[in-house]
Amino acid sequence: MQEWANQLCESRQFGSKMTDSKYFTTTKKGEIFELKAELNSDKKEKKKEAVKKVIASMTVGKDVSALFPDVVNCMQTDNLELKKLVYLYLMNYAKSQPDMAIMAVNTFVKDCEDPNPLIRALAVRTMGCIRVDKITEYLCEPLRKCLKDEDPYVRKTAAVCVAKLHDINAQLVEDQGFLDTLKDLISDSNPMVVANAVAALSEIAESHPNSNLMDLNPQTINKLLTALNECTEWGQIFILDCLANYTPRDDRESQSICERVTPRLSHANSAVVLSAVKVLMKFMEMLPKDLDYYGTLLKKLAPPLVTLLSAEPELQYVALRNINLIVQRRPEILKHEMKVFFVKYNDPIYVKLEKLDIMIRLASQANIAQVLAELKEYATEVDVDFVRKAVRAIGRCAIKVEQSAERCVSTLLDLIQTKVNYVVQEAIVVIKDIFRKYPNKYESVIATLCENLDSLDEPEARAAMIWIVGEYAERIDNADELLESFLEGFHDESTQVQLQLLTAIVKLFLKKPTETQELVQQVLSLATQDSDNPDLRDRGYIYWRLLSTDPVAAKEVVLAEKPLISEETDLIEPTLLEELICHIGTLASVYHKPPSAFVEGSRGVQHKRLPGSTGLGESLESPDTGSAAGGSDAPPAVIPSQGDLLGDLLNLDLTPPATTGPPPPPTSGMQLGAMDLLGGGLDSLLGGDLGGSSAMGAGFGAAPAASPASFSAPVSGGLDDLFDLGGGVGMPMGAYNPPKTVWLPAMKGKGLEISGTFARRAGIIQMEMTLINKAMSVMTDFAIQFNRNSFGIAPAGPLQVLTPLSPNQTIEVALPLNTVGPVMKMDPLNNLQVAVKNNIDVFYFSCQYPISVLFVEDGKMERQVFLATWKDIPNDNESQFQIKDCHLNSDAASSKLQGSNIFTIAKRTVDGQDMLYQSMKLTNSIWVLAELRVQAGNPTYTISLKCRAPEVSQCVFQTYEAVLKN
């Protein structure tokens, strides 16, 4: 008692309370020495107090490892608390004192046979925590006994011990057959043992991706479902996560599992709820949608998800990240629950931002008024990040729900009136997007925007404003002044703004050439001469060359019609989404990355798929995730951020024009003026460069096959190719052109034989014909005319047969075509009726062109757009074909197809099967999306085509077949 009093006096700072905090006060010198003496004391009580002090020191991170032998000496005791404390110490320090740790082995072996199951369990638990190789083999026998112990409490503890041991020495565990014993425990009579066995096996399986540890069959599933009802909440999580890996045989099994899992949705533990949601979301895929139970299940999923949102903010956050996935996959579940996502002003910021995201995903015509009112409210909050996101959200609503666009724009204008600097800037950025989505609708607000020009200090907002001024230069009286004001500080601007300014001024010049010559020259020289930024310089040169060589082409390029921006650009790719749905509740679901992207701890995780879903959506995935699956540390696929998207949008100005007919001859004075203006200076500047690249252009023009010298303009062709390269398309292979066939036999042509084919060269469709005069007389006065046809193909010029065709003479003619002629649907679709006239008669024949000549050069879809479009096109429009006897590998096929303007957007490999996702665009702006499956060693390809105009599929398929087989 006297000692106690002394100690209490020492711990002055904690007053007279008899607490453990006294252990924190032992910081003085010689502490270890004192403890050592106390540990070796004869008095039990003093010993225990000493061990307690040691543990306390250890807890706060002090090094007390020097006391190892003394503490181990205290181990052989009947006092349970003391034993536990010593065990605690052992676990912490055994690693640093492996030789000493061996001293403890005997006690473990003895304790494993203690009549008290609590001690047996404690021993087996502690054993596994001693991470010393030397010791582990001594522990195998005791562990084996404990795995078969009569007391389930010991068995369940031993099950976890197997996982611990596996972590230390996997080989040993396998050699000793512990894995099989563990598998047997799945059929144990005690649910807790089952749950722990499942947990241990899952952990082991994570480091053994290929082992067939969790051999799930209907019998084990039944065992698990039975144990599910009776084990602890944590055990339920392990079992549910394990169930989620199972693929039911049919919809009936699927339904029966769902029925038995549904009660877990009412569990108080949110992790159980979310794991149950995962199982249900996955197995639901297999249920027929017309089943009553399917609807019931959908209804049952909403309340637990909503309840998660009333939990603590940390739980809410994880729940919201998962709900974000769920609403993308099955929006119907929560479509009536918009209000629970309304933001409370004292929600933590991470909850606010997530709620906002989900609000937009759930926004629809039905609730948009409410959503907008809320967003407007948020835009007056204090937190800047949140306010910005709220303003962006208004823009996203406008783009998503067309009916609301007008209200969104007026809300944004209201916000601009607040003059709060960052609100104004965000508003301008989103209004630019709205202009892109709804051209020629809301331009009346430009004046208001221009009023705020001076307050913009963020690059993104400046760039957006400049884009607007450039795009609508003809409607803004003082556009030149506005842009000029930006030009003054050109070198201080960020690249984003510089590029935008360059493009905007070129646009302005093309629209108002008379007043802005000086300006454009100024910006071109700033961009090309005074800048170190290669992007800026190259863009500057390209514009300069375009303007100087062919202002009309420049106009077509710079002022080209831009594709509308898609509605849901921020959607997660369907395959990634499907994978993430299989991982609901995990870290992967919080980060929206596939588990393979987590380098640590997932050595080759297998990709999970939703069962039952068919078609292509299932397998669509980006190359990122595909390569990540191979275990490389490829960048994880993330949701395309707003930033990327905007960048792309801004750069769209550079994509090649959609119409690619040969430019009409320059005639107007303005264009000539432009030539004069820039021509002189340019020659000297660009002399060598120009020659080089026109040679390059010519090279490109000549590259495909052996084309007869045609009248295709080398310069403009070269430019097109240049732009192709700029767009990152890469070096195209030659396009496949079918061989010539006889269209008009001499018999019918009164001696004139015409054979021919179609080709697309440098963006120009050509009809290449061989005319042979098999008659006895000279032929002259050739002319050609087309009947109306499906794509409006028409000759772009007269048939150039300049010299009379004498008997037995052969002439090669290339007739450039455009697609601006009258349209009439033909059968077959690619049928073309032609009339050729000469001095003898008029001859009629029909021929079929390969539809590939209509594939334009900018047919490479943005990946996100592709995904959205693929989803958007109804499945009825999908058609599937087989291509037999094709011996190319997927890469060769891809580059071959690219030669014909069929662009590969993504490639993915699953089970040795390559899947290429491709897009092509027809001259009339019809997009065709394709999925090409190539199995190594199998000469039969499968191709699925999706298009809003499914009639073209047959022709497209023929093209594939022709291109791939030649």
Binding site: K17, M18, T19, D20, S21, Y23, K44, K48, T59, G61, N79, E81, K84, L85, L88, K95, L118, R125, D151, P152, Y153, V160, D167, E206, T232, E233, W234, I237, P263, H267, A268, S270, A271, S275, P303, P304, T307, P313, E314, Y317, V318, K339, V340, F342, K344, Y345, P348, I349, Y350, E377, T380, V382, T418, G585, T586, A588, V590, F598, E600, G601
Partner: protein, 429 residues
């Protein structure tokens, strides 16, 4: 599974660490500190933080960050739920969960953590079982232990852990057998500036304190079980019976526990028990604003609204406020701009009012933000959803227990949005 746990106090000191597998250096917490620095408020630290080799999952409770370190794919909710359980256990054992309490009981804390998790797998998290394994410290027991040298670690196998009813220990005996149930409802609402309800929902719980001898089997039925369409049960509740008959049937744990929690969503009509009249005005060209706030009861079925506390974050431009409460006291913190008004009870005859002026920074224009008013209140003897217990029956034991049911409604996140009037100055010649 959970690798390690660090406890970090408000000033950023790691005051406890526990490792269930190999030791993770505490330098891993630097990533947490970075995130903490970036966060404007303590509660804005993101709950999941990735680091190159680990993930940090944290909860903030009682101004302590509980930071769990995980290395492989683990369900984050699992970790968060576990951390909550740790906090609850500490609170249960030490009465409060503070740094001082944890330090005072560091050995018990360590023992608890060791029992709660084995190699990262939850082992014993039910408070009943834990208390059998490790006796909670009481002043008396500490004294007794000190004198007799006995310990606070139980010697027998925690029997409950293996039975079919793991939440209840066997051999419970009381001289007074009693079962109390508290129906507590929290109402979360957002009221817009014109006074109409944007969203309102009720989070309800039934907390029980059951001290019954033996193995009692209870049933609890409701007058209007239809209200409960979104419920989470304690594991003791027989789900099948609920599905079929809408009756709660269960063998209760011993002592305090949460029998069920439920949610009445915004799609049902939720009664709003108080209203607020507010008038916040700024005058153009003047550095003064007017503030006028009146509270009143509605839809309270005649029950009194008590413990009313109003708080509001005034705009940043407000320097100070001179207000006059008709009852209670108010404070305004000129640094945080937080206005709080402790109203007390609302007297329907004489509605509480807070009125006065706010001073803006000289020359400042009208503030941009609209302040939100947060209201806390309590209403005794009423569950705002209308939920009512019909009867409570006991089977399996012969004695007659004493039964009691209490109702209470509280404000959860109850927020009223305001707007600012803006008076143009009339210039007269």
């Amino acid at each position: 599974m959970i690798h390690s746990l660090f406890l970090i106090n408000a000033s950023g000191d790691i005051f406890l660490e526990k490792h269930w597998k190999s030791v993770v250096s505490r330098s891993v917490c630097d990533y947490f500190f970075e995130a903490q620095e970036r966060a404007t408020e303590p509660e804005n630290v993101p709950p999941v933080i990735p680091t190159p080799h680990h993930y940090l999952i944290s909860v903030l409770r009682h101004r302590i960050y509980f930071v769990a370190v995980i290395q492989s794919e683990v369900p984050p909710l699992f970790v968060i739920e576990f951390l909550h359980r740790v906090v609850d256990t500490f609170q249960d054992y030490f009465g409060v969960c503070t740094e001082a309490a944890i330090k005072d009981n560091v050995v018990v804390v360590y023992e608890l953590l060791e029992e709660m998790l084995d190699n990262g797998f939850p082992l014993a998290t039910e408070s009943n079982i834990l208390k059998e394994l490790i006796k909670p410290p009481t002043i008396l027991r500490t004294m007794v232990n000190t004198i007799t040298g006995s310990t606070n670690v139980g010697e027998q196998l925690p029997t409950g852990q293996l039975s079919v009813v793991p939440w209840r220990r066997t051999g419970v005996k009381y001289t007074n057998n009693e079962a109390y149930f508290d129906v507590v409802e929290e109402i979360d609402a957002i009221i817009d500036k014109s006074g109409s309800t944007i969203t309102a929902e009720i989070q309800g719980v039934i907390d029980a304190c059951v001290k019954l001898t033996g193995m009692p089997d209870l049933t609890l039925s409701f007058m209007n079980p239809r209200l409960l369409d979104d419920v989470s049960f304690h594991p003791c509740v027989r789900f099948k019976r609920w599905e079929a008959e809408r009756i709660l049937s269960f063998i209760p744990p011993d002592g305090n526990f949460r029998l069920l929690s439920y949610h009445v969503s915004s799609q049902n009509l939720v009664a709003i028990p108080v209203y607020v009249k507010h008038n916040i005005t700024f005058r153009e060209g003047s550095s003064q604003g007017r503030f006028d706030l009146t509270l009143g009861p509605k839809q309270t079925m005649g029950k009194a609204v008590e413990s009313v506390l109003v708080s509001s974050q005034l705009p940043r431009g407000v320097l100070n406020a001179n207000l006059n409460p008709s009852q209670g006291a108010y404070t305004f913190d000129p640094v945080t701009k937080l206005l709080t008004w402790d109203v007390g009870k609302i007297n329907p005859q004489k509605l509480p009012n807070l009125k006065g002026t706010m001073n803006l920074q000289a020359g400042a224009s009208k503030p941009d933000e609209n302040p939100t008013i947060n209201i806390q209140f309590k209403i005794q003897q009423m569950a705002i959803s209308g939920l009512k217990v019909n009867r409570l029956d006991m089977y399996g034991e012969k004695y007659k227990p004493f039964k009691g049911i209490k109702y209470m409604t509280k404000a959860g996140k109850f927020q009223v949005r305001t707007y600012q009037h803006f008076l143009m100055v009339q210039t007269s010649m």
